[in-house]
Each structure stands twice: as structure tokens, then as C-alpha cells.
């Protein structure tokens, strides 16, 4: 009888353990079974090498886990992920910027982190690792859907040689305002007739419109979207000032640069008299060091803060682009747990990311580290970060960014009237906002 009672008791305990709602997910998930995790990430040679080392280490510690690490061109990632997830074939782990990932969060396509999976007692402990605002793009209804890989704001890299060649002193003549930036660029630019052979400064264009140009509008009090998220393009005066500036910058104005010239990121390391100033993140230091160590060591470059307008009403610096690692929400729970553990393991090496790839993760620990402080001009980026916010994100942010790109191109290259362009731009963005709410 005792044996029967004992068996019934064991059976009851087993059944209650299996069906108990309060039990931890990992307790009922077989984490010893072999799993293969697929990671899709954008190309970054320095980071790929480092992350592959970390993954090897993780696999050695967890022999049942295999990782398939795949890299793709950054410009193609959003499209690849959209197609893959639409077909139900998304990777287990992927990374993208806040502009792209928000749609994945809002559509419930990505996994929400259970803090116990990565050994934290509560989700607040995870938030406590990061500086305020760093996780807002991956937070929805109190749940956390991603962890930040890189947190990038842009400042201006200055080539001192080109300044001196133009008879300027880089230490004193560097531009502090947008007006000065245009005037200094005029002194630095070289042309053969109308054709630019050396640019003073040029923008990044490409996918950087919301990141590097929207702050120019916001410094004048303008906004892309109202605070309640319902109205597009606030503050016509600010927008018109910005559009007029870009028109003046382009080939139909003072002819200082254009998005059709070779992208500045591919020539800024060269030190070959093609470019004096360009915006980039702290990561550029690793790229200069890798591509042109002689120039890196020469001290002939420096970094200056993001400019402001002379009559700016808001102190806004370059917006921050934050890339997050996320986990596919449709994979098995065991895979999700291993995926989160791998992400947490990789991202726990924030000093390694900084040292080997010059990528900044928005953790208190990193900003306070000696390594960060010892990096050339890191204080310029840190000071700018104090006035920076995440680049605009929403489910339609990529489309809105493209509309801004088209508006800037229309005034700069097609020489269209800024008032007309502003009206078109407002209509298109409003349309996207309404469509999102539809």
C-alpha cells in the first residue's frame, strides 16, 4: 500500500511539474539536445573575426550547440530578413538597426527575453546594465526583445593635412556651426571647372538621412513626427532652412558635394587629398588603423563635435544608430534559450568589441572603462551622446527615411523649390503614418 501511495505521489509530482504554470520554462525544456543556431549579421570584417572567436569559445563550453555564422551586405540585410520572415524561414539570431527591427517587434516576430534564461533574476537587472534609452526600440509592453550590439553616433573626422594645404589651421579653423561648415568647405574644395576634385566636407547620404540630417531640423525646433505620432513634419521654418541649406550645398548651389560622388566612407581613410572632413562613428578609428596605419599613427587626423546652427534653439547632436541582436520568436524554446545565451555571452565582451572593432555598446561598464577613455577622441563622441537620442524608429521608418532622401535629392539635384518639396514630403510621410495606423 505504501509503495502504491508513493508511486501515486511521484506521479502527481511529475504531472504537476510538467503542467505547473509557475515553473520556469527552462526546467521543462531539454537543453541537452543538439541545436544548430543560424546567425545572420551584416558584413564588418573586424567584428566577424572577433565574433567567430567568441562563438568558438561558446561552442567549446556548450558542446551540444553548433553555430552557423553568416554575413551579408548591410544594405541587403533588411530586405533579406523581410523576405525570410515572410516565408517563415528567418534565421535564429539576427541583428539590425532600430529603424528596421521595430516592425519585427511590433508584429511579434521576435522572442521576448525571459531574464532567467541568461541568469538574471528580473528584467530590471538587464535594463540596469544599459544607459537610459538604449533599449527603448526593443521594448514593447514591458518585454525586452533585443540586446544592443553597437551604439553609434557620428562626429566629424578632420584631415589636418588638407586643412594646412588650404592655408587653414585645423586646431582653430575647424567648423563649429553648419554655417561655418559650408564656409570652411568652400575654402577647402578644389574643382576643375564645375567638377569637384577635392571635397571639404560631404555628408554620408545613403541610409544616414534620419541620423545625420534630421538633427539639423530639430536644432531649429522642427520635428519629423509630432509627439503623439499622428502628424507629419512639424515646423515649416526649420524644414525650409534645412532644405535651402542642402540646395545651397549641392551642384546647383555652391557645389560642395553631392550624393552621386564617391561615398566619403570609402575614401576618408586614404589621406590622398580627396576629402578634408566626413562624419563617422568611433568605429572609424579601427578602420583607419586597419586600412592606413601610417595615417592613423601620424596624428594628422582629429575628431570634432557634431555642428549646431548659429541660431539653434535645441542642442541636438547626431542621432544614434543602435544595432540589436534579436532572436526569432518562432523557433523552439530550447533554441530561443540557447540563442539568448549566445547573444548574452558575445555581448558580455563589450571591451573586446571596443578594442578589436571600435564598436561601442551602451553599457555603463563600458563608458566608465579605462579602455573607452583611452581611445582617441572618445570624449567627443561621449559628450555628443549626452544630447543624442535614438534615430527615429517606427514600423515604417525605412520608408520615411527614403522619403526624406528623395526630398533632399529633389532640392539638391533636381533644383526643385523647397516649398513644393516640403509639401510633397509632408503628404508622403503623413500617408505612411496613416497607413501604419490603418
Amino acid at each position: 500500500m505504501k509503495r502504491i501511495c508513493a508511486l501515486i505521489l511521484i506521479a502527481a509530482i511529475t504531472v504537476s511539474a510538467v503542467f505547473a504554470g509557475g515553473a520556469s520554462e527552462s526546467e521543462s525544456t531539454d537543453l541537452s539536445a543538439p541545436v544548430t543556431l543560424t546567425i545572420w549579421t551584416h558584413e564588418d570584417p573586424n567584428r566577424s573575426v572577433f565574433e567567430k572567436e567568441l562563438i568558438e569559445e561558446f561552442m567549446a563550453e556548450n558542446p551540444n550547440v553548433t553555430v552557423d555564422y553568416q554575413t551579408y551586405p548591410s544594405g541587403k540585410m533588411a530586405e533579406l530578413l523581410t523576405v525570410a520572415f515572410s516565408a517563415g524561414e528567418g534565421p535564429d539570431i539576427f541583428n539590425q538597426s532600430q529603424s528596421v527591427i521595430r516592425q519585427f517587434v511590433e508584429e511579434g516576430l521576435v522572442s521576448a527575453l525571459d531574464p532567467s534564461w541568461i541568469g538574471e533574476e528580473s528584467i530590471d537587472d538587464v535594463y540596469a546594465r544599459y544607459i537610459p534609452g538604449a533599449l527603448e526600440a526593443v521594448t514593447l509592453d514591458g518585454e525586452l526583445h533585443g540586446l544592443p550590439l553597437e551604439y553609434t553616433n557620428l562626429a566629424i573626422y578632420v584631415n589636418k593635412n588638407v586643412f594646412r594645404d588650404a592655408g587653414l589651421d585645423p586646431e582653430t579653423d575647424y567648423p563649429k556651426t553648419w554655417e561655418e561648415l559650408m564656409d570652411v568647405s568652400e575654402k577647402l574644395v578644389q574643382r576643375e571647372g564645375e567638377i569637384i576634385t577635392r571635397r571639404g566636407f560631404d555628408f554620408r547620404y545613403s541610409t544616414y538621412y534620419l541620423m545625420e540630417m534630421l538633427p539639423m531640423v530639430e536644432q531649429m525646433g522642427g520635428k519629423l513626427v509630432s509627439d503623439d505620432g499622428k502628424t507629419a513634419v512639424i515646423g515649416d521654418e526649420a524644414w525650409l532652412k534645412f532644405f535651402n541649406y542642402m540646395k545651397e550645398w549641392g551642384p546647383n548651389g555652391r557645389n560642395l558635394g553631392s550624393p552621386t560622388y564617391v561615398g566619403v566612407s570609402s575614401i576618408m581613410n586614404n589621406n590622398d587629398n580627396q576629402l578634408a572632413m566626413a562624419m563617422s562613428g568611433l568605429y572609424q578609428e579601427a578602420r583607419i588603423r586597419a586600412n592606413n596605419p601610417e595615417y592613423y599613427e601620424s596624428g594628422e587626423w582629429m575628431v570634432i563635435p557634431f555642428p549646431q546652427w548659429e541660431d539653434a534653439v535645441e542642442n541636438v547632436t547626431c542621432h544614434v544608430s543602435c544595432h540589436y541582436y534579436m532572436v526569432n520568436g518562432s523557433i523552439s524554446e530550447a533554441k530561443q534559450i540557447w540563442a539568448w545565451r549566445l547573444i548574452d555571452f558575445m555581448l558580455s565582451h563589450s571591451e573586446g568589441y571596443l578594442e578589436k572593432c571600435s564598436l561601442v555598446q551602451p553599457t555603463y561598464a563600458l563608458f566608465e572603462s579605462e579602455l573607452f577613455k583611452s581611445m582617441p577622441y572618445s570624449e567627443v563622441f561621449k559628450n555628443d551622446l549626452e544630447h543624442a537620442t535614438l534615430t527615429y524608429y517606427s514600423a515604417n521608418s525605412n520608408a520615411i527615411r527614403d522619403k526624406m532622401k528623395q526630398a533632399v535629392e529633389a532640392v539638391m539635384l533636381e533644383n526643385r523649390d523647397p516649398n513644393e518639396v516640403l509639401a510633397d514630403f509632408r503628404r508622403q510621410v503623413q500617408d505612411l503614418i496613416d497607413d501604419q495606423n490603418f
Binding site: 571647372g193 567638377i195 560622388y261 533636381e414
Partner: protein, 298 residues
């Protein structure tokens, strides 16, 4: 006897079906079903990445697309690009085909040179020309040399009219060889006896071209013009790459590019399908008109 014939015909028909069915199944699966699915999408609110069940919205997507200034800008860009590419392609492919057919020497070299761009992918072709159209590139330098205008930026990649021209030049360069070879093949099919008879009757070169070659080449020229026109209307990669390199969107935003952006960037599959249907109908109507005109002349 009649029964035997009947059974042979049935047997033949059965074999006919045997050979045709795979093609029909392939067509039904990979062409007809996607087309019907696209038509269904146009009446629903289908969005990529959305977990929500598509709602029936009637003609709302059609109303939106047909009242959108961006759609009509795309129509304009498509028409301009098609006219600027298709007319020179049709005319010059005939001329080049004729020259190659009548030359005694160097024909093979000429065919090789003229056809080689066709084997390049459109992406590679566009990338090559992007370098040439750079303000410091060969195209600008050549025009400045010919016009004696040193230092002038002809704005190949920024000015709307120049963008129409530069994309049309790329398309012409890439496909002229392909269509010239088709014309050349058409000319080669004209019976030698007819050409000899014309020569015997004292026809000169102009008369041979106008009264012998051109009438007999009509089916080929009709086919070339239809295919060239349809290909021009479907052009995508050149415009896409130009916009990726910073060229302004409006002059390049042909319907195919708009469809791509609406589907992949805006994730609005339904509106992209509406535009695809509009493009399909336009292409079909133009093809029928071209065929009717050709038949009437014949």
C-alpha cells in the same frame, strides 16, 4: 478503317497531352497561380511580416494607387524611358542587322563586339556605366572634348533629362546586339532565290531593302519591337542601382522600381500587386495593338 484512323489520332492526341501536361502544370504552378494570387491580393489588405489576417478592402487599393502622384510619376518615367530606349533599339537593330547581313568581311568580329554587352548582367552593366557617368568619368570627359567645354559637369547622374538619357544609353548598349542578331537571323532566312531574282530584275540596293527585305522581315521586326518594348517597360536594375548611388528618385522611379519599393520597403503587397496588374494590362494592350498593326500592314 475509319476506326483505325480514329484510334491513331486518339493515340497521337494522348501523346500530345503527355508532352504538354508538364508544361501546363509548370505554367499553372509558377505563372497562373501567382497571377491569380496577385489578383486576390489587390482586393485585400496584405502586408509583408504582418500576422494579421488580410481583410477584404474592395477597390480601395486601386483607388489609392490610381490617385497617387507617385504612381503617375512612375508612369511618366516608364513611358519616357520606354520611348527613349525602344525606338532607337528597334531602328538601330534593323540597321545593324542589315549591315552585318550585307558585309562580306568582318561580320563575325562585328557580331562579337555588338553582342558582348548582352552577356553581362544588368547589374554589372549599370555599375560600369555609373563609373563612366561620374563627373570625372569617361562620358563627361568625352563630351567635353567633343564640345570643347572643359570642366563642365553634364550632370549625367543628377539632372532629370540626363538621367533619362543615361539609363536609355545603358539599355541600348546592352540590348542592341541581342536584337541585331535576331534581325540578322531574320534576313538570313529570306530565300536566296528571291534576292537573286531581285538582282536579276535590276533592283538596286535601296529597292532590295525597301521592297524585298523589309516586307519579308515584318514578322521578325514585329517580334523585335514587341519584345524590346516589353523589356523596356520591365527595366529595373539600372534604375535601382542609379538610385542606390544617390541619383534622384523621381526621374528613375519606373513602375517596376515603384512596385519593388512598395512591396519590399513599404511591405504593402496589395498596392504592389495593383501596380503589377496595371503594368500587365498596359503591356498586353500594347502588344495586341502592335500585333494588329503588323497584321493590317501585312
Amino acid at each position: 478503317m475509319r476506326n483505325k484512323v480514329y484510334s491513331i489520332e486518339r493515340k497521337k492526341a494522348r501523346w500530345g497531352w503527355f508532352f504538354v501536361v508538364p508544361a501546363l502544370v509548370f505554367f499553372a504552378l509558377f505563372s497562373l497561380y501567382p497571377m491569380l494570387n496577385a489578383l486576390w491580393n489587390t482586393f485585400h489588405n496584405v502586408k509583408l511580416l504582418s500576422n494579421r489576417k488580410p481583410e477584404f478592402v474592395g477597390f480601395r487599393n486601386y483607388a489609392y494607387v490610381l490617385s497617387s502622384p507617385e504612381f503617375w510619376n512612375s508612369m511618366k518615367a516608364t513611358v519616357i524611358f520606354t520611348l527613349m530606349s525602344f525606338i532607337p533599339l528597334s531602328v538601330f537593330s534593323f540597321l545593324f542587322g542589315l549591315v552585318m547581313a550585307t558585309r562580306k568581311t568582318g561580320t563575325k568580329i562585328m557580331q562579337l563586339i555588338i553582342y558582348s554587352p548582352a552577356i553581362l548582367s544588368s547589374v554589372v552593366a549599370a555599375l560600369i556605366w555609373l563609373i563612366l557617368f561620374d563627373p570625372r568619368g569617361l562620358a563627361n570627359s568625352a563630351v567635353n572634348f567633343l564640345m570643347q567645354t572643359p570642366g563642365i559637369d553634364h550632370k549625367w547622374l543628377t539632372k532629370a533629362s540626363m538621367l533619362y538619357m543615361s539609363t536609355a544609353i545603358i539599355y541600348f548598349w546592352k540590348y542592341i546586339g541581342y536584337f541585331s542578331i535576331i534581325i540578322l537571323t531574320g534576313i538570313a532566312k529570306i530565300p536566296e532565290s528571291i534576292m537573286e531574282a531581285a538582282t536579276t530584275d535590276g533592283a538596286n540596293a535601296r529597292q532590295t531593302v525597301c521592297h524585298i527585305i523589309m516586307p519579308l522581315l515584318k514578322p521578325t521586326t514585329a517580334m523585335v519591337s514587341i519584345v524590346a518594348m516589353l523589356n523596356c517597360m520591365k527595366s529595373f536594375s539600372t534604375q535601382y542601382l542609379f538610385t542606390q548611388r544617390g541619383a534622384p528618385n523621381a526621374p528613375l522611379n519606373v513602375l517596376t522600381l515603384n512596385i519593388y519599393q512598395t512591396a519590399m520597403r513599404d511591405r504593402n503587397i496589395s498596392r504592389a500587386c495593383v501596380m503589377s496588374f496595371v503594368l500587365f494590362i498596359i503591356m498586353m494592350v500594347l502588344t495586341v495593338i502592335r500585333m494588329k498593326v503588323s497584321e493590317r500592314k501585312h
